[in-house]
Symmetry: C2
Subunit: 367 residues, 2 copies
DNA sequence: GTTTAATTGAAAACCGTTGTCAGTTCACTC
DNA sequence: GAGTGAACTGACAACGGTTTTCAATTAAAC
């Protein structure tokens, strides 16, 4: 009748030791180094702990003493909830969680709202290391992370800071392969739908200057890869319309597709820098009665599950693996001959949403 | 040239104070209570901190002293990565993350693999409270959570433990409404696809005894709701085939649908206890050339985004809101007149995958 | 020019562990 | 009966802060 475990915390390691008439060391050992004391004594300690409602050594105090928090921090600048809405982010998180799970480490989602630049949360986080995902390079939170004396891995971003590892994928090469696929199919009039290029809201056409200026390396690489491929095929990039969307959702993809097709009705292929946008584009095409791929080719990037379900032509990146590698990179610290930078391959996946441009023309002539 | 911030941790609050010739209190105040010291002095302290690479007070030490960790722990018994694969779980997490974000709390995913029953992780977690999601009642991790002297909120589970709050949804009522919808459409031959009912792998028919015995309250309620509705309409539940799947994925749904339709070809409606299973069932129907809803009605439960996209008839539960409420329940502790139990409403969403049974007969007779 | 009040800073206690290390007890072995 | 090793103790120093109490300094008031 000493009370439920949820009233207060009366018991500490010391009080338990006193109760039992043993030293604190012994109690501590009962939990942490069972080989240091006899089994019966250990059982006695544990039994007394149960009886007194002692939940075991306080994790925070233990962390302080051992200098290990047992958790990895994850920093995203997008609203935290975004992490769960975007299929690429969830894939990444899944992999990261997997790696953490295997290492017995927790995964702490650091609460940072993109608006109020309250860096405090980063300082408050009791973690052994950070993974930084989808953050622009000049982000104050990111800088706060770098100030913390713990190892850090950044994802999808060239990083020059010493002691910071990196994992990314072959964005440019993947998009280049996709571009080659498109030109091989005979497409010359190609439109591009891309994600946010800057921190400020901007929805609409993005000219080459803006494309170059972007603070999002992933977008730069993907657009750049496409540009390489098209240029190889003799297409003048300056004439390629690029429509940008700030939000990353199917709805945004649909509206971007509408916008682009309205201003450039002669486009035979829509290359999107993400599957989510592409799925939106497909949605728009379906609603507008535009046959895919007969009249319009649509491609994505990422290889999310839903894209696979709808047969989208896309570039698959190993999102989950990327998360896993990020975790491993972080947790295998100390491994002297560990790579500091990992770039994972991407793979062109030809689905049923891309077809020959000639077919499109046939379609037109048949009209 | 004292070194980058990533070499070691030379600077502590004490060393900084010594360097400056002030007391530790002052340095601490500079960070935590700016009103307790003059602005110039504070600036001097902060400047010295920058110079010496002092990243601010150590979060763990601070937590120890203040008895607040600044984070909420999330316990799932499914492999951690499952949390990111299942759309319902991600929705819940999104809401929970939102609540945490607003309260400036971190969200710690506690690493528990379902297999090795290593409760240690629960004890290691430096958190101010726990949210327990999708865990069977007799789970050792769950019990470990209850031992911790911190507030706890469980989700979707009747809980008798004092001091533990609960959030859930009207599973039974929702499914009952769906059942009424089905019987109103004239369906009498109904098959059920349900999720895991026990901790052991089991794929195949689940008789009423097994349905009752399940350690997953959600499944019990949903199946029970359907049973109520069908019984109301005079359908003998004993004759209703229920097929269970251990895995929760579209593939599992597809195979379950195949199994059920093979053994009960006269079924006119397939009621699934989750959208994910229903999406799988739809997939199977499409592959097998079974017209939906003309020849077969398919329904789900949850109201996930993809279900909406495909027009699935389902019961929508406010998953995100549920997560948010869980967070609020936990974080608003101390609010004396706060509810201890929250049950959120569900809503029947009639889509394009359910149709009258008469239509089905017409379809048959037209053959 | 005191007295009084407001500011500011220092000292010390405390948070709950872990780890180390010398030392004691005790049962066994040879 | 000395030697050996296992089991356990006790003291103490971290770990890096926060917070309360109180003294000292300064500014304001009379």
């Amino acid at each position: 009748m000493t009370g439920s475990p949820h009233v207060r915390r009366p018991a500490t390691l010391a009080s338990l030791a006193a109760e039992l008439g043993v030293s604190r060391t012994t109690v501590s050992n009962a939990y942490n180094r069972p080989d240091q004391l006899s089994a019966p004594l250990r059982e006695k300690v544990l039994e007394a702990a149960r009886r007194l409602g002692y939940p075991g050594p306080d994790p925070v105090a233990r962390s302080l003493r051992t200098r290990r928090a047992g958790a990895v921090g994850l920093l995203l600048t997008e609203a935290l909830s975004y992490a769960f809405r975007d299929p690429v982010a969830t894939g990444f998180l899944e992999g990261l969680a997997l790696a953490c799970e295997q290492a017995g480490q927790g995964l702490l989602l650091v609460p940072v709202s993109p608006e109020h630049a309250d860096v405090a949360a980063v300082h408050q986080a009791g973690v052994d290391g950070f993974v930084v995902y989808s953050v622009s390079e000049d982000d104050p939170h990111f800088r706060a992370v770098l100030e913390r004396p713990v190892p850090t891995v950044v994802c999808d971003q060239p990083v020059g800071v010493e002691g910071v590892d990196r994992v990314g994928v072959a964005d440019r090469e993947g998009m280049r392969a996709l571009g080659a696929h498109l030109t091989a199919l005979g497409h010359r009039k190609i439109g591009v739908l891309c994600m946010r290029l800057g921190p400020q809201r901007h929805d609409g056409p993005a000219d080459p200057a803006r494309q170059e200026r972007t603070s999002y390396p992933v977008q730069r690489e993907r657009i750049g890869g496409l540009r390489d491929a098209l240029t190889d095929a003799g297409v003048d990039w300056a004439g390629v319309p690029v429509v940008e969307r700030f939000e990353h959702s199917p709805e945004a993809g649909a509206s971007a597709a509408r916008e682009l097709l309205a201003s450039h009705p002669d486009v035979t292929a829509l290359a999107c820098t993400s599957d989510v946008l592409a799925i939106g584009a497909l949605q728009h095409a379906a609603e507008a009665g535009i046959a895919v791929p007969e009249r319009l080719t649509v491609t994505g990037f990422d290889g999310v599950p839903e894209a696979e379900r709808v047969g989208l032509t896309t570039v698959r990146q190993p999102v989950r693996r990327k998360g896993q590698v990020a975790g491993e990179l972080l947790l295998q610290r100390g491994d002297r001959n560990k790579p500091k930078q990992v770039v994972l391959p991407t793979e062109l996946v030809v689905g049923s949403t891309s077809g020959p441009a000639t077919q499109t023309e046939k379609f037109f002539s048949g009209w």
